[in-house]
Symmetry: C2
Subunit: 446 residues, 2 copies
């Protein structure tokens, strides 16, 4: 069997295109509709995806006029989806900056148990002052500090997830002995950001712990990923950049003493699918026509940390922009956007059109064959272990992908045709179940 592609469905409201909610078919309440997400999860499962994924941030984004804002809390929504699906992995975003390790480790272990080992955690450090101000801070913690806290957070969470050995429950009714206290290992963690004394109050879960996913592309982000991540989401505009990123991350993973095969790289793609190329372009155009450009300007100014009113719609970006070093928010996204605009000499209007679909992710507009070809090329030429599929419109874009691209990928032997027996998310991604650090310290993945 040839190497298998991994597919993740990135679900978001009415779709990844910022104007998708304005299409006639779209439900303005989709973002809080369980039914909407149940339908999407089932379509993804029909397409034998490895997993589905929900982004998140603990703040109300932007202003409400522009587009759907707010969302169901991801772990809550994924728990409901766990009961509506059987095989697909369930990856929730949660912030290391604005959670405590004890509560979050417990919640992921609980989802992992309830879903039969299908939980994943997209670990984010959360950029932005709005989030900080919801948690008692005046301003966003510095980028490096956020990643330092994230690393300690993971160390604590791993201690907690390993605090019960797998066979700690004895259940000896005759002797009146329910569990073996020798198999419980309190965290006893005293660090810079956290002090956590006890063992977790839930047994070790089917996967040991959730699949660890990460999406930071800055230096700090890649360093973190190499150490902890099992799957990495990334936004890449060209195959050259994607190959360089891929090679870099695999090398860093090896350098961190891990098997580079145990970290899967998944670039995001926005598939805009038509039965002809012209049809795909027309759909793209329809979406662009629905963009409200004044909103786009505001958001771009915010990303580039420029004063409001700096950008002109039909001009290029200003020649002088701050270096990535000066950005405390999403560093790598900043660089990607600036490079895209410079490389293709895009006006602000054109740049907003390009970002409207995928906020920096690659748009692939074309026929199912063209999309499948691009996927195969990236996959076989060292740019990806799989993809984060970000349909511009939901549910129609996911339907189109599953009905028209998936069969081609299956025909080419790149994607499973059925799930087979139930298994864990980590097994779907071809990863081993992690050993418990208290049982086989030498085998511990991290």
């Amino acid at each position: 069997m040839p190497r298998q592609l991994h597919l993740n469905a990135f679900l978001m409201n009415t779709g990844h295109h910022e104007a998708s909610w304005r299409l006639p078919e779209s439900d303005p309440y989709a973002h809080v509709s369980l039914e909407h997400y149940v339908d999407l999860a089932r379509v993804a499962e029909r397409g034998t995806f490895d997993s589905l994924f929900l982004a998140d941030g603990p703040q109300l984004w932007s202003n409400l006029a522009q587009r759907p804002a707010g969302a169901l809390e991801p772990l809550t929504l994924l728990t409901a989806l766990a009961t509506a699906t059987e095989h697909i992995g369930l990856i929730a975003t949660a912030s290391t900056s604005y959670n405590s390790p004890y509560n979050l480790a417990r919640r992921f272990a609980s989802l992992d148990i309830v879903s039969g080992g299908r939980a994943g955690w997209n670990i984010v450090t959360t950029a932005g002052a709005e989030a900080a101000r919801n948690f008692g801070l005046d301003a966003e913690p510095a980028h490096a500090e956020r990643y330092a806290r994230a690393a300690e957070f993971l160390d604590v969470a791993l201690k907690l997830w390993d605090s019960w050995e797998d066979d700690a429950i004895v259940g000896d009714k005759a002797a009146g002995v329910w569990g073996d206290d020798a198999k419980i290992h309190p965290a006893r963690h005293q660090g810079t950001y956290f002090s956590v004394g006890g063992a977790l109050n839930v047994p070790r879960s089917p996967q040991g712990y959730p699949l660890l996913v990460q999406a930071g592309s800055s230096e700090d982000g890649k360093h973190f990923a190499a150490r902890y991540a099992e799957a990495v989401f990334t936004a890449q505009q060209t195959i050259e950049d994607a190959r360089a990123f891929y090679a870099d991350l695999k090398a860093r993973t090896a350098a961190a003493g891990r098997d580079p095969g145990h970290l899967k790289v998944l670039p995001g793609i926005v598939p805009v699918i038509g039965s002809t190329e012209a049809e795909a372009r027309a759909l793209e155009q329809t979406l662009e026509d629905h963009i409200v450009y004044t909103h786009g300007v505001e958001r771009l100014e915010s990303l580039l940390q420029l004063p409001s009113g700096t950008l002109e719609l039909d001009a290029l970006l200003p020649g002088e922009l701050p270096p990535e070093d000066a950005i405390e928010g999403a560093k790598s996204r900043y660089t990607l956007v600036v490079e895209l605009a410079r490389r293709e000499r895009l006006t602000v209007r054109q740049l907003i059109g390009r970002l409207g679909g995928g906020r920096g992710h690659l748009t692939l507009a074309g026929t199912p064959e063209q999309v499948a070809d691009a996927i195969e090329t990236w996959f076989t030429q060292g740019a990806a272990d799989g993809f984060n599929i970000m349909p511009p419109v939901l549910p129609s874009g996911l339907d189109a992908f599953v009905d028209h691209v998936v069969p081609i990928l299956r025909e080419r032997g790149l994607l499973r045709s059925e799930y087979g027996p139930r298994t864990t998310l980590r097994e779907r991604y071809g990863l081993p179940r992690p050993a418990n650090q208290h049982v086989s310290p030498e085998l511990t993945a991290v």
Copy 2:
């Protein structure tokens, strides 16, 4: 129609009796089995209960040898149960001492949306040093401080739940206006324990906010309940004590400027049901026979804050015990246990037997008629608005209650025979949907 009884099913592992896990029928993994809880939830729904409830604390209790420890995180489990049920309310315990208001308010709003308005929150301040040490503290915060933080936590949560007006989503596709920013009200809270700037990142939920439940019986606890709670769980051993508690809490609620009918008092009862009284006593005896008394002594010493080794199994409690004032943990439970032992001149062994079933809640052992009679008496004589049903063994004890006691209560016109149309948890308890403080400040419940 006569006044209607409210019933809440307090679900816990293999049952409330500490020895229930040792019975042949019990599953030692019940506490982490979704199927076990789905079955229980469906039985409770068959019995047209108003709600079900999960207790919780963010620490691993006691030692593992004694009895099942750890549990699925309640909001996670209740989300899964929301998809398996249609009518029953879902009350999760969460701590104000070890959560941040932004995250917790979001999670309850999300459960409320996903369940169609069936979420409830049992607000606890969490006694004990073990929990404190999982969240960066060396010791448990003082009782009064925990309640002061709880009050501010509620004020912030209420601001967040009201931060979206009900009609903030406009969905005007033609104009490209999704929401009305004038209907968003950032929390802008700066207090002693919390500072929270923004609006919640989820729209106002079907109930406005979850049903607010509380279970503190100390002075601070009752003060808090009078101000915020819509339902109160309580442990009462005699109808006289229960009536005094009921009258006191209703008076306090009126004094706080609220309608005392908008706070429902639900004492806990442990129904031990047999087709004859002798059969019920025999079941009680079987359970007592499975108690491991050395464990009971350890737990009693811990509750009474006595050095290990102080208590003797066949002696009375020591004559000198600290006053409730000196207790920083669960004050009211302490007093209840000491008074029970003194009133009935129980030896330590007898006291442990009595506490084994309900940890201080009233055990009603008898025929279905006897249990129904006691329920009716308490309900009609000013001691209760309903009950927190705590079966000693699960699922059998809940089955017995639903199959044998519920029909009698229905016959007597005290309990609905069917749910009727889907409705919110708050409506089940006969409570109004709270007004949004930003729309009708004069109508706000709290």
